[in-house]
C-alpha cells in the first residue's frame, strides 16, 4: 500500500485569470471559495460573471466548508508529463454546498477510493502566488 501524495514540483502553474482572483486569494489563506448567486442561491464554480443556473449577474464570493464527496475519479499510471509521478488520482469532488470541483485525491491508497467517499480539502503551496486545493479522506467520517 502506498499513500497518494500531492504532486507539487515541476508541474504547470496556473495563470490567474481576471475572474478568479478571489478564488486564489482564498486558497493562499487556506479558504476554499465559490460564488453564490444572490438571485437564486445556486452555487457557481468555476469563477464567472453570470449565474449558470438563472443567468443573474449578481454573484457573491462565499467560503466553502471544504467538505464533500467523491463524484468521479481516475488513477493515472502513465503521466501527462514526467513531472507527475505515478500513481496520482485526479477526481471530481462534489462539495456539500452543491458544486463540482476538479482536484486530486491524496492521503489514501488508490485502492481505497470509492464513490461517495467523504473528503475534505487540504492546501499545498506550489508558488508564491498559487496554493492548490487537494482532497483527503475526511477524519470526521473515518
Amino acid at each position: 500500500m502506498s499513500r497518494l501524495e500531492p504532486r507539487l514540483l515541476g508541474i504547470p502553474v496556473p495563470r490567474i485569470g481576471p475572474e478568479s482572483v478571489p478564488y486564489w486569494e482564498g486558497t493562499r489563506l487556506g479558504e476554499l471559495r465559490f460564488q453564490r448567486c444572490d438571485a437564486c442561491g445556486a452555487a457557481n464554480f468555476g469563477p464567472g460573471l453570470v449565474c449558470r443556473k438563472c443567468r443573474s449577474r449578481d454573484l457573491t464570493w462565499t467560503r466553502s466548508a471544504g467538505r464533500g464527496e467523491v463524484f468521479s475519479w481516475t488513477v493515472i499510471w502513465r503521466p501527462q508529463t514526467p513531472a507527475f509521478e505515478v500513481p496520482y488520482a485526479p477526481a471530481i469532488v462534489r462539495l456539500d454546498e452543491g458544486y463540482d470541483l476538479l482536484t486530486a485525491l491524496v492521503g489514501l491508497d488508490h485502492a481505497e477510493i470509492s464513490d461517495g467517499l467523504r473528503v475534505c480539502v487540504e492546501f499545498h503551496e506550489i508558488s508564491p502566488e498559487i496554493t492548490l486545493p487537494f482532497f483527503a479522506p475526511d477524519p470526521e467520517h473515518r
Binding site: 504532486r7 508541474i11 504547470p12 502553474v13 496556473p14 495563470r15 490567474i16 485569470g17 478568479s20 478564488y23 468555476g46 449558470r52 463524484f71 468521479s72 475519479w73 481516475t74 488513477v75 493515472i76 499510471w77 502513465r78 503521466p79 501527462q80 508529463t81 514526467p82 513531472a83 507527475f84 496520482y88 485526479p90 477526481a91 471530481i92 463540482d100 470541483l101 476538479l102 482536484t103 486530486a104 464513490d115 506550489i126 498559487i130 492548490l132
Partner: protein, 394 residues
C-alpha cells in the same frame, strides 16, 4: 424517406458527397508536410469524384488559404477553418445557399508528436483550475466513464469488448496504421498496461499522421459524376463549452437541463432523427468516433440505440461486431486505422460511412448498407457532432 418531416424541402436536398480520399496513414510520414498531404488529398478526392481541381470554387477545413493560392484557384469563397463534421456541414451549406458548386473539405496532421515522453500537447487542459492536476485526454474521458460505471455497473470487460471489436476491424484493414496487429480478445485489452483507470492502453486511441479530403457538390451534378452519390440525411452538433479546458463532469448541465454533459450528443441525435424522419432502427452501420472504448457505449445510449445503462449489455450481445445489428467503426477508427491530428480522423468517420454506402469497403463491408450514422467528439471533450448518410436523395 423523410415522410415524418412534412416541412418542405429537406435541408440537404441539393447536396451530395461525390468524392473521398485518404492519403497513406502511418505512425510517422517522414518528408511529408501538412501542405503536401493536403495537396495530395485534394487531387485524390477530385479524381475519385471525377471533377477537375480547377473547378473547385470553395475550400473548407485545414489550410484553405494556402491551397487556394498554390492550386491557382480564385476567386473562391473565403475559407472557413472548421474541423471534422462541422467542416463538412460548412461545405454543404455553401451548396445549399448556392454560393458554391464544387466544395472540397481538407484535413491533415503531421509532425505534431515530437515528444514521445509526453501526451499530445493539445490534449492537456490549460484552464487555471485544471492545469495543475495532470489531466490529459484519457483522464478526462476516464472521469466520465467512471461515473457511468458507478451509476450503471458498466464493466471493464464491456469496455474491452468495444476496443477488441474496433481494433479487429483495423487489424484486417490493409490501409490501417495498425493493420495486422491483431486479432485481439477482450482479455488482451485487459492485459495491456493501465493508463488512466478504467482505461488500459488498448482502450485508448492511437496517434499517427496522414490526410484526407472530400468533395461535395450539387446533387443533380453528382448524378453524372464518377461515383454513386451519397447524401446527407441529417447533421447536428452539441457542445457544453471549450473542449479540454473545463473539468469534464458527467452532471454538468446548462439550459438544456434534461441532458447532462455525460449524454452530450443526445440533442444533436434528436435533431438528426427529426431532419431525416429516421431512427436508430433504420441505421445499418455506425461509424462512431472512438477516442476511448467507453465512448461507444455512451454514444449508443446518447443517440437512442438503447436505454441509459443498457449500452454495456448491447455490446456484449454482439450488436457492434461483424454481422451484428449495428457494426461500429468498421475501418478500425482512431484505435487502429489512424488518428492524425485534430480533424483528419474526424472527417474519416464520414469517409468510411461513404465507403460503406457505396458498397466499396474491401473489409468489413456491411451488406446492403443504405444508412450510416457518423459521429465526432465525445463526453470528455464536451462535444459531439453527428452526420447521418444515406444512398437515397432526401
Amino acid at each position: 424517406m423523410g415522410a415524418d418531416r412534412n416541412r418542405g424541402p429537406h435541408p440537404y436536398h441539393e447536396v451530395a458527397i461525390a468524392g473521398i480520399y485518404n492519403t497513406r496513414q502511418a505512425r510517422r510520414l517522414p518528408g511529408e508536410t501538412m501542405h503536401s498531404l493536403l495537396v495530395e488529398a485534394v487531387f485524390g478526392a477530385c479524381a475519385d469524384a471525377g471533377v477537375d481541381v480547377g473547378s473547385i470554387d470553395a475550400l473548407v477545413g485545414q489550410g484553405p488559404a494556402e491551397l487556394t493560392y498554390d492550386l491557382g484557384l480564385g476567386p473562391v469563397t473565403r475559407a472557413f477553418s472548421n474541423l471534422g463534421i462541422p467542416a463538412i456541414r460548412d461545405a454543404a451549406h455553401l451548396i445549399t445557399t448556392g454560393e458554391a458548386t464544387t466544395v472540397v473539405v481538407t484535413a491533415a496532421g503531421v509532425g505534431m508528436l515530437l515528444d514521445d515522453g509526453a501526451t499530445a500537447p493539445w490534449t492537456r487542459p490549460t484552464n487555471e483550475l485544471v492545469v495543475a492536476y495532470g489531466l490529459f485526454t484519457a483522464a478526462e474521458f476516464a472521469l466520465m466513464a467512471r461515473r457511468h460505471m458507478i451509476t450503471h455497473g458498466t464493466t471493464p470487460e464491456q469496455l474491452a469488448t468495444v476496443a477488441a471489436t474496433i481494433r479487429n476491424n483495423g487489424h484486417v484493414h490493409p490501409g490501417a496504421v495498425y493493420s495486422g496487429r491483431g486479432p485481439f480478445t477482450a482479455s488482451d485489452i485487459l492485459a495491456s498496461p493501465m493508463i488512466a483507470d478504467p482505461f488500459h492502453l488498448l482502450d485508448c486511441s492511437t496517434t499517427s499522421e496522414g490526410g484526407c479530403a472530400m468533395v461535395l457538390t450539387r446533387a443533380d451534378r453528382a448524378a453524372d459524376l464518377a461515383q454513386r452519390p451519397v447524401h446527407i440525411l441529417g447533421s447536428a452538433s452539441d457542445s457544453f463549452g471549450a473542449a479540454y479546458s473545463q473539468a469534464p463532469s458527467w452532471d454538468l448541465r446548462g439550459s438544456g437541463d434534461d441532458v447532462p454533459a455525460g449524454y452530450v450528443g443526445r440533442r444533436a441525435a434528436q435533431t438528426v432523427w427529426r431532419q431525416s424522419g429516421l431512427g436508430p432502427d433504420d441505421v445499418d452501420v455506425c461509424e462512431f468516433y472512438d477516442p476511448f472504448s467507453f465512448e461507444i457505449i455512451r454514444q449508443l445510449e446518447a443517440f437512442g440505440f438503447c436505454g441509459e445503462g443498457e449500452g454495456g449489455q448491447l455490446v456484449m450481445d454482439g450488436a457492434i461486431g461483424p454481422g451484428g445489428r449495428w457494426p461500429i467503426t468498421t475501418d478500425g477508427g482512431t484505435m487502429s486505422f489512424s488518428h492524425a491530428g485534430i480533424s483528419t480522423q474526424q472527417i474519416q468517420r464520414v469517409i468510411r460511412g461513404v465507403e460503406q454506402l457505396r458498397g466499396a469497403c474491401s473489409t468489413m463491408q456491411v451488406a446492403g448498407a443504405e444508412v450510416a450514422l457518423c459521429s465526432n467528439g465525445g463526453s470528455g471533450a464536451l462535444f459531439n457532432d453527428l452526420m447521418l448518410l444515406g444512398v437515397e436523395r432526401p
